[in-house]
Amino acid sequence: MNLTTQSAASQPIKVESVGFGWPLIGCAGRWLPSGASTGFTLKCFRRVPRVKVNVSSTMSGRVLVGVKRVIDYAVKIRVKPDNSGVVTDGVKHSMNPFCEIAVEEAVKLKEKKFIKEVVAVSCGPQQSQETIRTALAMGADRGIHVEVTGKEYENIGPLQISKIMAALAKKEDAQLVILGKQAIDDDCNQTGQMTAALLDWPQGTFASELTLEGDKIKVVREIDGGLETIKINMPAVVTADLRLNTPRYATLPNIMKAKKKKIANMKPADLGVDLTSRRRGRYRGRRSARREEGTVY
């Protein structure tokens, strides 16, 4: 992803590489050892002044990222015998892969100094905090856990989640909300669009490239048969598609650091969100294999 912005002399500057949060312009990788004796301490050879970003002064420079805890993509799922849902007890859970891409994108924007703070949000039971920790280890600054448990958690859907996201976006004065385009459990693909609607913000869904341009954002979108480019005003909601980036692995030092970061805890009622859901689901398993015979050797 290339980020292009205007410098003071309104000369477009391409941020080529970012190391330890310092943008290096035209000298990617020019880090010199400070002393031959250690060789470990690295100092920046030439520090370039911060890239000036035309984020209007009223904007917070805060990005809200939604992270969902789902059954790990590699687990073969089983439907409960009474068809009331999917077996989740004792099953490995992870962060939804599209949410990882959303976190990565937000952290990248921060590293490039386009934004100041990344806040990771998850709605769900106690275990959702693990998912938030993963986001913190990837580089998010702090977390918000909106606790929803039991029957309520079983019944909530994207509409309720988007109400929570919209309320938080307002409360936190976020300038951008980045979500995954869909979760790999319910495959709904709705939350981003609905959050945008509730906030009356524009939406850049299925994004494969983001470029911040002043108080607007250019989004290249994955559509049927190709790509489409749109430009939307900020604040906005963006949903991440697969090609947006490759999420980083959390390193051990960063996992340790993440343990010290703060996770605020709240209830949907604290945000004035009503969780009443008017949809009910029954579930059925599906044969994954159709035929066993007929292979020709």
Binding site: Q190, I223, R286
Partner: protein
């Protein structure tokens, strides 16, 4: 009871998935209306007026509808809904429908139902979850049911014999918060992936993008579309819009030929509803053989040219 189908088009032609959505709308019972919003859509209106099952076409034309931006179309749909009080609003589950309808639903304060594959009753729908590994039957008690329809699960409506009347509706005032800049579609003379009768797909087994030519040659002989697995797309062999799978396109052709695809769950989710599945892979243990009706354990670099050659005769 009445249903509004939001038509997807490019001002010149109707997108085929709209016809599948019209079939689903007809199954719901009640009157089916179609909303056509665009910059200059007389041609599309003429096309829909011949489609069977459509009673009325609502036409809204304005420059702000360029690029079908959801920020512009949502106020229009809300205004139309206010005027006609439809019980159902639906569209095809394409990038267009998936982008637009949840926004409309949130504004109506109703939970939408995405990507339905079956209609049990006007308020009960079946959809797939966990990449098609389980089915969820959803009862939707919302005042207005907002649905997107999986194209491959419903037959397209007949494009002849219909006699829909058309009526102009007032265009909504432009929201002006978003701007459509450009579109680059992959050009191809082959049939479109999701509507093709035959699909030939390649995976990482092809080893390079250049080797996809083998599949293109075979596909051209069979008038087939060419798809790819996510592994092939991630490896950069071919563009993302060729991807078949959970996160790509859902296909259900008469014949699906998987070449050099091992059969990850994510790929199977996108193609296991195909009528006949043929798999060519040199690894006899590849999971693709579990869903295949016909499996060929062979080197694809030998087998595929032989197949193309055989079709030449």
């Amino acid at each position: 009871q009445s249903t509004l189908v939001v038509a997807e088009h490019n001002n010149d032609k109707l997108t085929p998935i709209t016809l599948n959505a019209i079939t689903a709308a007809s199954q719901l019972g009640g009157e089916v209306s179609c909303l056509v919003a665009g910059t200059d859509c007389a041609k599309v209106v003429a096309e829909i007026s011949a489609v069977q099952g459509v009673k009325k076409i609502l036409v809204a034309q304005h420059d702000s509808y360029k690029g079908s931006l959801p920020e512009e179309l949502t106020p229009l749909i809300l205004a139309v809904q206010k005027q006609f009080s439809f019980t159902h609003i639906c569209a095809g589950s394409s990038a267009f429908g998936k982008n637009l309808l949840p926004r409309v639903a949130a504004k109506l304060d109703v939970a939408p139902v995405s990507d339905i594959i079956e209609i049990k009753s006007p308020d009960t729908f079946v959809r797939t979850i966990y990449a098609g590994n389980a089915l969820s039957t959803v009862k939707c008690n919302e005042a207005v049911k907002v649905l997107t329809v999986r194209g491959t699960a419903f037959e397209p409506a007949a494009t002849e014999g219909g006699s829909a009347s058309s009526e102009d509706v007032a265009a909504s005032s432009p929201a002006g918060v978003s701007e459509w800049l450009e579109q680059c579609l992959t050009k191809s003379d082959r049939p479109e992936l999701t509507s093709a009768k035959v699909v030939v797909s390649g995976g990482r087994g092809l080893k390079s993008g250049d080797n996809f030519k083998l599949l293109f040659d075979l596909a051209d002989k069979m008038n087939a579309a060419v798809g790819a697995s996510r592994a092939a797309v991630d490896a950069g062999y071919c563009p993302n819009d060729m991807q078949v799978g959970q996160t790509g396109k859902m296909v259900a052709p008469e014949l699906y030929i998987a070449v050099g695809i091992s059969g990850a769950i994510q790929h199977l989710a996108g193609m296991k509803d195909s009528k006949t599945i043929v798999a060519i892979n040199k690894d006899p243990e590849a999971p693709i053989f579990q869903v295949a009706d016909y499996g060929l354990v062979a080197d694809l670099f030998k087998a595929v040219p032989e197949m193309t050659e055989a079709l030449n005769k």
